[in-house]
Amino acid sequence: MSKFCDKVLCKIKEEKIEPKPKWHFLLKDYFVWLAFAVSLIVGALAFCVALSIILDNDWDIYRYLSLSPAKHILLSLPYIWIFAILLFLGLALYNYKHTKSGYRSGTFVVLGLSVVGSVVLGSVFHSLGMGRKIDRIFSQNIPLYQNVHCCCNRKDIWTQPEKGLLGGRILNIRKEDEFDIEDFGGIIWQIEKNNETLIRGPVLIIENEEVKLIGEKRTEKRFRAREIRPWAGK
């Protein structure tokens, strides 16, 4: 045995050095894989919320807002969710690269597969209605959420009766073609509708239902609806 070999073995024996147990490494490896999976799932959730917001957005109302279509698109994109998608994709890549064999795959391959994974999983979550649910939970529980999730606060957009846009909660149904709503500023409006009023999607004219109205302001507290849309969706 060489002198150096003796030295190494002496050190190991004197300092009572032992190999770390196998479970220590397995646990570490499982933890990295778990972190990768969590990053991918959270990224997919962010994708499904962004998808819901984009699909539910009223892309056709730029006319009422005196905006160009391009400016309306830029103001309506869910930036905070887009940022969350990018952040969790980055974390997924970081975690994958730190798995035992993660170095073998190229960065763009891992990133590409993470994007595909997030899109597929996010689309499944979206089809289960999770995007709208998360968006609603955030809106109800985080006061500034509406202001930060994109450049425009939806409630502000739909509180512009002079421009023909009004949103709020149905308080009561007066007659077949008349009902009251309370807008997001707490003002109560009498709404008129007629046979020509377009009722879009799964909207229900029942008490406590949140709706969006396109039409015209008739008097101080009266609004004629040409179109009624559900608050969530179109």
Partner: protein, 194 residues
């Protein structure tokens, strides 16, 4: 008692399994890899013989501590070189004495290999003497020197280099190609005369 002859008949993987049961068998791995790793450590660091020995001791202790982490999908030599490589880098970071220039130990085989490399000769339209190559290598980026050391000095193939440096195979191939190109560029730019 450890039988040295017994050691040479066993594969690295078998020795790892035996060392986990009886630490005396770790001596077989130390004996086998000491000269190779000593050369490698000195090639990628500016360490003196004494410093390299201390570093090597730390490397073997780390290898022993992490024996259970050895993945049989890898060659044991790739795994132990990876630990050595990471330990040298970590040593540089700790002591903050990372050399700007890697010192290559005189290795005529390597110099001859590079100097007579056909692709390189084609790129630079000439062949080089060992001394010329040695001087030009000092101007190469660290990342290129690292792969050149492993490829030409340590005789590792692309897969082994990929496992040692923990980089994808494609990246290793690119690094080697770029190393050769940078080498050719240095020759052209500096018009090195010897």
């Amino acid at each position: 008692m450890l039988d040295k002859n017994n050691c040479s008949e066993k594969t690295d993987e078998e020795l790892v399994a035996l060392a986990l049961k009886d630490q005396d068998f770790f001596a077989c791995l130390v004996e086998k890899y000491e000269p190779k790793l000593m050369r490698y450590v000195r090639r990628i660091s500016a360490a003196t013989q004494e410093d390299a020995e201390d570093l090597l001791q730390e490397i073997f202790v780390k290898v022993y501590r992490n024996l259970n982490d050895f993945d049989p999908d890898l060659k044991f030599s790739s795994w132990i070189y990876r630990i050595a490589h990471n330990q040298v880098i970590s040593h540089w970071r700790k002591t903050k004495v990372r050399p700007q220039v890697l010192k290559f130990e005189a290795d005529e085989d390597f110099l001859k290999f590079i100097a007579t490399d056909e692709n390189l000769a084609r790129d630079t339209e000439r062949k080089f003497s060992g001394e010329e190559v040695r001087k030009m290598l000092e101007n190469l980026d660290k990342k290129y020197k690292e792969v050149l050391v492993l490829k030409f000095l340590e005789g590792k193939d692309y897969k082994e280099i990929s496992d040692i440096l923990e980089k994808p195979l494609g990246t290793v191939a690119t690094l080697i190609n770029r190393a050769k190109k940078q080498f050719a560029k240095i020759v052209e730019e500096k018009n090195i005369k010897f």
